[in-house]
Symmetry: C2
Subunit: 340 residues, 2 copies
């Protein structure tokens, strides 16, 4: 795993869990990075922890424009539109990315403002049930999937054109950002990303919420008997409701499809339980699914402490002939990207 | 937390995860304990690890009868009937308990054989997704809930009678067993226990299985993007399917009710998502439920390294006037029991 320090300054808008952890990792790596947060109290804490942060959005973006920074939108979906407006006004040439957990909705906002030729979305698949600067730490993204969305290049290719040099430069910067924090970069188009995370990130939240309610309705004895399976199964229900809503509601179509599948599986299981006293079909299929996930998510330790991911690798040279097709291939395999 | 070493020998039938961990804890505490397992290979491993174990069921039970041991059935529900038959034949006076995850079905088997006056069921709320002797360790039960079922005393009281001295002695032994392994003893009647664990132990398995299937159906990219919420939400789908089926199918009625509630909550959420683009109702209720669970399951560290449970305490003297009513009170509160 190469861990190059990005040369491009990184300007992070929003110092919650993801933005804050990113600022910590970059600062620790000696990379030029600074942040903005709406709340002066959060800014005060970040500065007290030795970070470069401010509460003046226009000034922060003017600085990003001046030093040709990569601007990272690290705010929940409902705040994205206003931040893009501010970027268009105060940083008219800066590269743009975001770490929002849905990608199509962000891309739509970006295109509506004509910013697509300097925007490459990303999504680090990492987090905890806690939020805010107080929850931030170093190393959150180590080994995590770091999705990089290449929709703009894909859209242009379908129209017989190639992405411009500026977009390819931003693409390299966003890949370098994931690399710098120890993540594994996985290319995906927004709609495929959104369908995937509906299944493995947003649906888990809804199932956790439902389980928490059913347990709670059981009363004191029930909560007193709750152990590991309930603790783990409800963990993400500890996340702030507004953050869960922003994720789920920003991905309503794909989440609806995933939820329909879960309802069908559970409904079939309910019928098999009533008619045959058995839960065999669901339990056997679920065990296969979990096993397949364990194989995919496994890591092997190498001598010297490095680890090797079980994800396949695709090597790509951005901007070269055929590179978008290679990204599509990597997306299909869920492969991680190495660029050269 | 008092940690008295039981004086009564403990004879454990089944050296899988729960039975094996129990044998390890008792042996480590210096308590007289030995085990039986059907598989000679498991017995060989247990003996190689320094434990007293054999593969001859009749001989093991004859030994339990001779030394007035407490016999612990630590096998899945489908094996319980045969083991009770063997106990009735070879250990006609030994006290009997079990660690099976359903209590009404075991109690029914016990009553069908006329063994209720020397049987007190229990259920340690602990485990991992792994199984077999290889998965055993010391300390699995530390701080866990250790349900002790007092149905026999309750049934007799409803008939105007009191449990006999032998039953009260077995009750004390089963409480002492939980105490010896560092668990917190919580009294409950079988039907209330079964309804509670359907919500906090069996339903979590079905939701985990469904989530694992929906993730797996998403294909390679989806599994590649799966992170913490999917990992935790599907963890127990790694459990051997026959063990999950034994648990769930042994508690079909209560599990069906819990699953119906989950289906209703998720169905309502699906409608709110389709009609309003919102998941507010479920997410807000789930967050409240999780928070209430966190409060109940919390532990506070004391100076010196001991911890204090957030579960309330009820002190009871077994066999004394009014003690069954006190157990019912504790059950209602999900309180842990201290006996004197």
């Amino acid at each position: 795993m190469s861990r190059n320090v990005p040369e491009t300054p990184v300007c992070i808008l929003g110092l919650g869990l993801i933005g804050g952890c990113l600022l910590r990792d970059l600062t620790a790596a000696g990379a030029p990075a600074y942040g903005w947060n709406r709340s002066p109290e959060t800014v005060r804490r970040a500065v007290a922890d030795g970070h470069d942060a401010g509460a003046d959005l226009a000034a922060t973006l003017a600085r990003a424009e001046a030093d040709r920074a990569l601007v990272v939108i690290a705010a929940p979906m409902p705040a994205v539109g206003d931040l893009l407006d501010a970027i268009a006004e105060h940083a008219p040439n800066a590269g743009i990315t975001d770490v929002v957990s849905v990608k199509q909705a962000v891309y739509d906002e970006v295109r509506a403002r004509g910013l697509a030729d300097r925007y490459v979305g990303c999504h680090p698949m990492a987090g905890t049930a806690d939020s805010g600067w107080a929850a931030t730490c170093e190393g959150l993204f180590r080994g995590a999937a770091w999705v990089v969305a290449f929709d703009h290049a894909d859209d242009l290719q379908r129209a017989g054109r190639a992405a411009g040099a500026r977009w390819v430069e931003v693409f390299r910067q966003v890949v370098a950002l994931g690399d710098a924090v120890g993540a594994e970069v996985i290319p995906s188009r927004a709609r495929h990303h959104d369908r995937a995370v509906a299944r493995v990130s947003h649906l888990p939240h809804l199932l956790a919420e439902a389980l928490a309610v059913v347990g709670d309705h059981g009363g004191a004895l029930t909560l007193s008997l709750a152990a590991g399976s309930f603790r783990d199964g409800t963990r993400v229900a500890g996340t702030r409701p507004d953050l869960v809503r922003a994720m789920c509601e920003g991905n309503a179509t794909a989440l609806g499809e995933a939820l329909d599948q879960a309802l069908e599986l559970l409904g079939d299981c309910r019928r098999q339980l009533a008619e045959e006293g058995s839960v065999a079909d669901l339990v056997e299929a679920g065990h296969v699914g979990r096993t397949r996930y364990e194989i995919r998510s496994g890591r092997r330790e190498l001598a010297g402490g490095a680890t090797l991911s079980h994800r396949p690798v695709i090597r790509v040279s951005p901007g070269q002939r055929g590179w978008v097709a290679q990204l599509e291939h990597a997306e299909h395999l869920g492969a991680r990207l190495e660029i050269f």
